[in-house]
């Protein structure tokens, strides 16, 4: 089972290492990881996507909360949060294929950010699942290079049910 964790940390040296070291010790493979600033200049957000069962996850969340620089750990619950990812991909595009590829891109709102004699670079920002779909769609055309930022997320502004918390705050 995959989980997305949103971890607010003090912007201090080695804090990323302290957090990721906990995952490494437990033998969890981090599927994606994104780190960046938040609205507060001294607070960063680490978003980690990890594949594990719920009980070891709870254990690692409690361990994380014991780290001095960790301010809050929350799981981004699907349906109650917005998750986004940015993908850049270079696809083989000889002149006779260009139009077809650009039409595919339009369906996914992927932007063409560079165009060469035999390749196109697409930029796609969206739900990670859309990025997966677009990637699969263009792959048969000759996917030359691909990079993804890893997902980031926020709790929804409007909650479907006001009695439920926007995010499951774990520790």
């Amino acid at each position: 089972m995959r989980h997305t964790l949103s971890i607010l940390v003090e912007n201090k040296p080695a804090v990323l290492m302290r957090v990721t070291s906990l995952f490494a010790r437990r033998g969890f493979n981090i599927e994606s990881l994104a780190v960046g600033p938040t609205a507060q200049h001294d607070v960063s957000c680490i978003t980690i996507r990890v594949d594990c069962e719920s009980s070891p996850l709870e254990q690692i969340e409690k361990q994380m909360h014991k780290l001095v620089n960790v301010l809050r750990v929350a799981e981004l619950v699907p349906g109650e949060s917005i998750e986004r990812e940015l993908v850049l991909m270079k696809v083989a595009a000889p002149p006779n294929k260009r139009a077809e590829l650009m039409a595919l891109g339009e369906v996914f709102n992927a932007r063409v950010v560079d165009l060469g004699p035999d390749s196109i670079v697409f930029e796609l920002t969206g739900p990670p699942e859309d990025c997966d779909s677009f990637e699969e769609l263009v792959r048969p055309h000759g996917l030359q290079e691909l990079v993804r930022t890893g997902r980031i997320g926020l709790g929804r502004a409007q909650r479907p049910n006001h009695n439920r918390p926007r995010q499951r705050v774990l520790a």
Binding site: R25, K66, V68
Partner: protein, 572 residues
């Protein structure tokens, strides 16, 4: 107050009430040692190896309840502290390590004696700091002590580049710490404590399974009040030994791999397990699914991460043990039916009579168990004896035969199982309790890992008694090879005679005794304990003796292997 960073460190230690620090100087920590020479109220004990300094600080912490302080230089000095740091991490010992680091402009350049000690220790510290600005230094030291001692105790590390130690600042010690992410629980939840009280009142076969947390929480009185109020039997883990009086009728031994049969049976047959500051370590549980299989679990702990980590807790209570136990006792007093646990206590007492600790006292050689029995007889009733141990068979015999009534009187390496812990820990304990008689029960293998600290003991006037249960082997390894590797003994023969431990002791300026027969044992031990100076007793014992009973690793408690009258002959 104007001064440099090194002065600031010492003024900070003084402000924290630190009376003693253990360390060894070197290049990157020279400015701090210069500040020591210029004057401070902090006594410095010069160890012979940084590992020794670290274990001394641990022994001091465990004997006193205060944070121990260890100081080392950069590079190899710092890496020699890694074992004590890991040990303190596993056993939740409050330890503040201060290490020198190369000058800031050299960091990352592979400079002489440079190593990334904050990076190396990340998995085994509660927190660490690489100080980048001299103005931060007092705040960092303040935070270091705060983190080491609050919540679940443990080690912290402060790495100070040499140029920071030399930089000038106006020193003032902060009164508060600002750590927005550090929020240890401050009280247990009343509803959970009530649920725990109800579980205790409803149980027919309850048992308190007590861990080292009770000593760290300074909650031994509260524990005793709870046990006596509800008439609950108590088992104490190795880390909790001395946390509940062991001559008390409610003390029913020690759980786990080398615990007596009656203790393990009591745990196994219990219908309620009240875990108090204990963590269901594999050496206690054996096969987890067979550990107290019919019991409801109440788990009291300061560390939320221990709840349901190994064993599901039906009633978790997270918070400081002292007030939780006090409140729990209050609630139990109101709801408990008098006499409810008496049949259960009688049952355990019957088991105790039925399955005593046994060994064969006959034979041509001195028996190791007799050494421990004699030590117990010689010190029974004394409340001024502090024991430390190394790790192995002698440690387990010490657990079984020494009865400790006074809190913090048994100091050992539990979780990490650090051979060589005993001698330096004893020196640290002596520093914390100068009036106590500190006895290190050691193995011959352990002794040779940290024997150099005998010099520290002698020269720093911190006399200790070391009793070597010398079987000439890495005894516990021998036992495992005998029992689980078809008697294929491999790389364990240390010999009884090399070195000559008594002569070695004398070479260090300590008293040395060699004991080879039961007749000489009591006299030598009594003389060593009474002599008032550092003494080593080399008790040469039968290497064929195994530590029983034993629950093989991963086995169920009821599959415990008992003492057998026939033991394999020595083959090497």
């Amino acid at each position: 107050m104007r001064g440099n960073g090194a002065d600031a460190i010492l003024r900070s230690l003084e402000a924290e009430g630190v009376d003693i620090a253990f360390g060894l100087p070197g290049g990157a920590i020279l400015p701090l040692y210069d500040a020591f020479a210029r004057g401070t109220t902090v006594r410095h004990v010069l160890a012979r190896h940084e590992q020794g300094a670290g274990h001394m600080a641990e022994g001091y912490a465990r004997a006193s309840g205060r944070a121990g302080v260890a100081i080392a230089t950069s590079g190899p000095g710092a890496t020699n502290l890694v074992t004590p740091i890991a040990d303190a991490w596993m056993d939740s010992t409050p330890l503040v390590c201060i290490t020198g680091q190369v000058r800031r402009h050299l960091i990352g350049s592979d400079a002489f004696q440079e190593c990334d000690i904050t990076g190396i220790t990340i998995p085994i510290v509660k927190h660490s700091w690489l100080v980048q600005d001299v103005e931060e230094l007092p705040h960092v030291i303040k935070a270091a002590f705060h983190v080491a001692r609050t919540g679940r105790c443990g080690p912290v590390l402060v790495d100070v580049p040499r140029d920071i130690q030399e930089a000038e600042l106006d020193f003032s010690y902060p009164e508060t710490v600002s750590l927005p992410g550090w929020k240890p629980p401050r009280r247990g939840h009343e509803r959970q404590i009530l649920a725990a009280a109800n579980a205790i009142a409803a149980a027919e076969r309850p048992i308190l399974y007590v861990g080292g947390g009770v000593l760290n929480a300074d909650a031994t009185e509260e524990l005793r009040a709870l046990a006596e109020t509800a008439r609950l039997p108590v088992v104490t883990t190795l880390m909790a030994k001395s946390g509940f009086p062991e001559t008390h009728e409610l003390h029913v031994g020690w759980p786990g791999m080398h615990g007596p049969k009656w203790s393990n049976w009591a745990l196994n047959k219990a219908d309620l397990l009240v875990a108090v500051g204990s963590r269901f370590d594999d050496r206690v549980t054996g096969k987890v699914s067979a550990f107290a299989p019919g019991a409801t679990v109440v788990h009291l702990d300061i560390d939320a991460a221990e709840i349901s980590k190994i064993r599901h807790a039906d009633v978790p209570v997270v918070g400081p043990l002292k007030p939780i136990l006090a409140r729990l006792t209050q609630l139990v007093r109101e709801s408990m039916q008098p006499g409810r646990t008496e049949p259960w206590l009688r049952q355990i007492a019957e088991w105790k009579d039925q399955f005593p600790l046994r060994y064969n006292p006959e034979g041509d050689m001195l028996k190791p168990q007799l050494v421990l029995e004699t030590l117990q007889e010689l010190t029974a009733g004394r409340d001024d004896v502090v024991w430390t141990t190394g790790v192995g068979q002698h440690q387990m015999w010490a657990m079984q035969y020494l009865l400790c009534d006074r809190p913090r009187s048994f100091i050992t390496s539990g979780g990490l199982g650090t051979m060589g812990y005993g001698i330096p820990a004893a020196i640290g304990a002596k520093a914390a309790r100068p009036d106590a008689t500190v006895v290190c029960v050691d193995g011959d293998g352990c002794f040779q890992m940290t024997q150099q600290e005998l010099a520290t003991s002698v020269l720093e006037d911190l006399p200790i008694v070391v009793v070597i249960v010398n079987n000439g082997y890495l005894g516990m390894v021998r036992q495992w090879q005998d029992m689980f590797f078809e008697e294929r003994f491999s790389q364990i023969n240390l010999t009884h005679t090399v070195p000559d431990y008594a002569a070695l002791a004398r070479a260090y300026g300590a008293a040395g005794f060699t004991v080879e027969s039961a007749d000489d044992l009591e006299g030598a031990l009594a003389e060593a304990i009474a002599c008032g100076r550092t003494a080593v007793v080399d008790a040469r014992v039968d290497p064929r003796e195994h530590c029983f009973p034993m629950i093989p690793a991963g086995a169920a408690a009821l599959d415990l292997v008992e003492f057998q009258d026939t033991v394999a002959e020595v083959t090497t």
